[in-house]
């Protein structure tokens, strides 16, 4: 699946407009950049500048209205919804601000969920999920349900779920937004450590200047365009 030459994500003049009953609202107005494999990129910018919209596009949850977007070398515009779903399963890991864990489902089965859509056996799913939970330090919370976990623990479960498929890109949209400062720091450290240990590129939306400062590269968004791109390779 992986083409070694290609960048993790490549965007060329990507636009995204929303149609609100005849009125077109531009959320992204021509965005071009490349995320290299295993990179660490922070996306910053004021509210409404298009950060989340960009993340959805990078993760193949949404498609550009214009321009070209390649994820792991594949042009998302040419893919059917089913192919896009498979691409997400194989190359993307999402971490959301509000965790999005399945209630009534144990930490272990939450982490194993992406593997369900790979057709792996329950035994193999669980084995991999257990291993991943150990890597985020939650081996003692395997059978806990989300409402039996702290916010920080829930987000670590979500991170384990995002990485259990060994994705090319890990997308985190304000992952510490719902956590207190200390817990947020711990989660950030975990994300940075996992980014350093694995081949997954980390693209992180944050409002926290300190966090942004630690990234090797910062993309500044404003009004749907990239205002500045510091520390980027290109």
């Amino acid at each position: 699946m992986t083409v070694p030459e290609s960048a993790a994500v490549e965007a060329v003049d990507v636009e995204r407009t929303y149609d609100l009953g005849g009125v077109t609202v531009p959320a992204l107005r021509g965005v071009s950049f490349t995320v290299e494999r295993a990179a660490y990129v922070a996306v910053v910018g004021p509210s409404g500048s298009g950060k989340s919209t960009l993340m959805h596009l990078l993760g193949g949850l949404d498609r550009p209205s214009a321009g070209t977007l390649r994820i792991d070398g594949r042009d998302v515009s040419s893919l059917t919804p089913a192919e896009l779903a498979q691409l997400r399963n194989e190359t993307i890991g999402f971490v959301f601000q509000s965790f999005h864990l399945l209630a009534r489902t144990t930490a272990l089965d939450n982490v194993a969920l992406p593997l369900v859509y790979r057709g792996l056996s329950a035994r193999e799913r669980r084995a991999r999920a257990r291993e991943m939970l150990a890597r985020v330090g939650l081996e003692h919370r395997v059978d806990h349900r989300p409402n039996q976990l702290s916010g920080g623990e829930q987000q670590r479960v979500a991170i384990a779920r995002a990485l259990v498929t060994e994705p090319t890109v890990l997308l985190a949209d304000e992952p510490t937004g719902n956590l207190d400062t200390a817990t947020g720091h711990a989660v950030m450290e975990l994300l940075e450590r996992l980014n350093a240990e694995s081949n997954a590129a980390l693209v992180l939306v944050t409002h926290d200047r300190e966090v942004a400062a630690r990234a090797k590269r910062r993309i500044h968004m404003r009004d749907g365009v990239i205002e500045a791109d510091e520390g980027g390779a290109a």
């Binding site: 949404d62 969920l113 992406p114 859509y117």
Partner: protein, 394 residues
């Protein structure tokens, strides 16, 4: 996603909302149960009627004056003993023909009496119909030829008149005239709503004299085999029409009686089952409704599943299975309820009920079908949800 996994997810979803799932199933339980019960009652009644008609004997036909038509009044019979001799000649065998002349009369023995059906018949009756004598003998040819005052009693009439004492050899009076009991029938039960165990048989010649008539009401003829029933009937009708040009005659075969009864019962069963089917439809709409609620409630879950790689089809299948599981579990419970209700009805009332395998298979198929039909719209809706929108809903 593996199918086994999809089943598990669907089952979990139902379990998470036990009360709601149960109430939704109830619609299916009642619908399927009603269909099973009504089909069982219809089938049971049909089987019973068929066995009663067939139990009369094989290859039978009844020849009566008049048109057999539910609208016309019975025709006064122009038939008499000379017609009987002509029919016997046409059939070619006295043993295959019997007659009836029927009247309601008071039958008395000592202080006991009963009002019942007295039939003037021939000694050939047990050769034409299935009719066995329990004690004594049936009427003899000489009884018919000489018009003897002898009688064979149905088992109930014998019991009413003589209690547990032996009836054979005793005296009774019919319409005030003395008769000797020569035999008592084996109990037979009902034929088409008529209690056969109260009948009293006397020779036709005696009956004509007793009732003051030369009339014969009807002929019953037993054909040698199934193929000859029709042609034989035509020949007998032709002979009778020749003898009575002004009168219409009809030959009714056992198959025709069965056919008419089966048609009536079939229509009845179908109408009842269709009415019960409407409750299945209502159940199905309930399932559809609940599935739409379920999709809306779990929009965020759908978004998350899509984000981690669920294809539209995976989501669609998951919800479709949930609907099918709802209706088939309801269907199986409904089948159990239907079978139980049928058995109880059959045990506690005279209404027969026969649960057939095909009706159960049909009920199961229909409940799965209802799940698919009424689950497909909610499932498609779930499958097509935009993941970004879905994740954002609260």
């Amino acid at each position: 996603m593996r199918l086994a996994e999809a089943w598990r997810v669907a089952l979990d979803a139902l379990r998470a909302n036990r009360l709601r799932s149960g109430l939704t199933m109830l619609g299916m339980v009642i619908g399927v149960g009603a269909v099973v019960v009504l089909v069982a009652l219809g089938t049971g009644t049909k089987n019973e009627v068929e066995s009663q008609v067939e139990g009369l004997g094989a290859n039978l036909m009844f020849v009566v004056p008049g048109k057999v038509d539910f609208n016309s009044a019975p025709t006064a019979s122009p038939l008499d003993t000379s017609d009987l001799n002509a029919v016997i000649r046409t059939v070619g065998d006295r043993d295959r023909v019997t007659v009836s002349l029927t009247s309601g009369e008071t039958v008395r023995a000592g202080r006991n009496s009963t009002f019942t059906t007295v039939l003037g018949v021939m000694e050939t009756t047990p050769k034409v119909f299935v009719r066995t004598v329990h004690s004594g003998t049936y009427l003899a040819r000489t009884d018919v030829d000489t018009g003897r005052r002898v009688a064979v009693l149905g088992s109930k009439t014998a019991h009413v008149l003589f209690g547990d004492r032996e009836a054979v050899g005793r005296q009774i009076t019919i319409a005030g005239v003395r008769f000797r009991v020569v035999g008592v029938f084996e109990p037979l039960g009902q034929s088409l709503g008529v209690d056969r165990d109260t009948e009293v048989h006397i020779p036709i010649s005696t009956a004509q004299r007793l009732f003051g008539t030369n009339r014969i009401d009807a002929f019953a003829i037993k054909a040698p085999d199934a193929e000859s029933v029709g042609p034989l009937g035509d020949r007998v009708l032709a002979e009778l029409r020749k003898r009575h040009p002004d009168t219409e005659f009809s030959a009714v075969t056992q198959d025709q009686i069965l056919g008419v009864l089966a048609d009536i019962l079939g229509v009845l069963t179908t109408v009842l089952a269709a009415i019960a089917g409407i409750s299945l439809l209502v159940g199905g709409v309930g399932v559809s409704n609940i599935m739409l609620v379920s999709v809306r409630e779990r929009t965020k879950e759908i978004g998350l599943r899509k984000a981690v790689g669920a294809k539209p089809r995976d989501i669609g299948v998951q919800f479709l299975l949930e609907a099918v599981l709802l209706t088939t579990i309801g269907g199986v419970l409904g089948m159990a309820l239907g079978v139980a209700a049928s058995l109880i009805t059959a045990a506690l009332s005279p209404v027969p009920a026969t649960v057939t395998w095909w009706s159960l298979a049909l009920a199961f198929g229909v409940s799965a079908g209802v799940g698919i039909i009424f689950g497909v719209v909610p499932a498609q809706r779930a499958g097509r949800l935009d993941p970004v929108v879905a994740l954002r809903t609260e």
